[in-house]
């Protein structure tokens, strides 16, 4: 069982090596002559007024929060979806298994409608 995951681990390591190799190659083969102008941040032709790490819109933060909720919900749906065929095939739990998930989805739906009504999903 676990040995099935061994190639995955090797693949990730090879992937990281492949991710770093081109930059090492570029570092070795390409010229390296930094100067003040080259090293300055990309701007509209003049010196930057302020740091780049400034305050940004709170909506990004909101989206991130809602994303976590929904992503967790999907993570919870995965095991249920994977055995849904089994649930349907077993007469005793058929309806129960479906309604349970309806309740779970329903609670999230309320939150979703609330977020929508509050304008958290608006982006004008």
């Amino acid at each position: 069982m676990l040995e099935n995951y061994f190639p995955v681990l090797v693949f990730i390591i090879v992937g990281i090596v492949f991710g770093c190799m081109p930059m090492v190659l570029g570092w070795l083969l390409a010229p390296h002559r930094p100067n003040a102008e080259k090293g300055s941040a990309y701007e509209c032709g003049f010196e930057a007024f302020e740091e780049a790490r400034l305050k940004f819109d709170v909506r990004y933060y909101l989206i991130a929060i809602i994303f976590i909720l929904f992503d967790l919900e999907i993570a919870f749906l995965f095991p249920w979806a994977a055995i849904f065929k089994e649930i349907v095939g077993t007469p005793g739990v058929k309806l129960f298994g479906f309604v349970e998930m309806l309740v779970f989805l329903g609670i999230l739906l309320i939150g979703y409608v609330y977020a929508w009504a509050k304008g958290a999903l608006d982006w004008e």
Partner: protein, 349 residues
């Protein structure tokens, strides 16, 4: 071939499983990198033809050496590191973007039995890898310490996570009908059905009963890879190249390669989840890898076609489509599939 394998096996001894795995991995990565290189050429050619131009045709016959020339040029270009950048993270970003785009291929089944790691958590692994890819973008945008890069990274992250929800919901529907997280089993599930028995396999694939989810997955895939018409992340007229604006040489090339590797990955995934993977569309032709390749190429062509056809979406329109159209649609279809499977009309027994 058999003899060669045996000789190698005795030569490497206990290290053989590792060597064999490495050989298989290179057997996936090298053709993949070649595909990525030629996808860039294909894109320029296809869009050229769609705009009644010729496209690149100078380097080599028909311009076929163009990707090689581009690669060589980028290797010899200086990697500029901005003085204000966080040096360590600055290099982690592109490596992460490319490494995850490659690593996701570990679980892709190419044909019956031709899969490197036939794991039961294949779908989860894929989702995990594509999610980590977002970190590459955020890290590079933050580490560059440039406003354009920073805003590009914020936009990109918000857009990618938004469409990941829709993608996840579409996958839940696929899992419901295939009852497995194993990618090979998902393909096997599509080989059964009333139409498949009649020899019309392509009508038994998931795309037909899950048609809205197929479209949602395809469109989310385009948004997830930040391709046109959802490419506000690097909208040239607004924030130039977005999170990659400070990168040059091979560091930039990694983002570029990663984006194209992700495009191919999304296309393969769409083929596996909705278009029956390596299954043949009609009964009298054998199943083979050729079908998977053909389906993938078709979806890749759609990517290029959309780029040549549609004007860029506005950012608020992108967010609205993801949150206010796709999420309710997915929820509804999930319930619909649930009720369908509970009813006597269930076609997935």
């Amino acid at each position: 071939m058999e003899i060669l394998l045996q000789t190698l096996q005795t030569f490497f001894g206990p290290a053989w499983p590792l060597v064999w795995t490495l050989l298989k991995i290179f057997g996936i990565i090298l053709p993949l990198v070649l595909c990525v290189a030629y996808l860039t050429l294909a894109e320029r050619k296809v869009i050229g033809w769609m705009q009644v131009r010729i496209g690149p045709n100078r380097v080599g016959p028909l311009g076929l050496l163009q990707p090689i020339a581009d690669g060589l040029k980028l290797v010899f270009k200086e990697i500029v590191v901005p003085t204000k950048a966080s040096t360590g993270l600055y290099f982690v970003g592109p490596a992460m973007a490319f490494a995850t785009a490659l690593a996701a291929w570990a679980v892709v089944p190419f044909s019956e039995g031709y899969v490197l790691a036939n794991i039961d958590a294949g779908v989860l692994y894929l989702l995990a890898m594509t999610s980590i890819g977002i970190y590459g973008v955020i890290i590079s945008g933050w580490a560059s310490n440039s406003k354009y890069a920073f805003y590009g990274a914020m936009r990109s992250a918000a857009q990618m996570v938004s469409y990941e929800i829709a993608m996840g919901f579409a996958l839940v529907c696929v899992l419901m009908v295939s009852a497995s997280l194993n990618l090979s089993d998902i393909v096997h599930g599509q080989a059964k059905g009333a139409f498949a028995e009649m020899g019309l396999g392509f009508l038994s694939w998931n795309w037909l009963p899950l048609l809205p989810m197929f479209l949602v997955y395809l469109i989310s895939g385009i948004a997830e890879t930040n391709r046109a018409p959802f490419d506000v992340v690097e909208g040239e007229s607004e924030i130039v190249a977005g999170h990659m604006v400070e990168y040059s040489g091979m560091a930039y090339a990694l983002f570029f390669l990663g984006e194209y590797a992700n495009m191919i990955l999304v296309s393969v995934m769409t083929s596996i989840f909705f278009l029956g993977g390596w299954l043949s569309p009609v009964g009298f032709l054998p199943d083979s890898f050729v079908w998977l390749a053909g389906k993938t190429c078709f979806i890749l062509f759609l990517f290029l076609w959309f780029r040549a056809t549609f004007p860029r979406y506005r950012y608020d329109q992108i967010m609205r489509l993801g949150w206010k159209v796709f999420v309710p649609l997915c929820m509804f279809w999930l319930l619909f599939i649930g009720v369908w499977m509970m009813s006597p009309l269930n076609i997935w027994k």
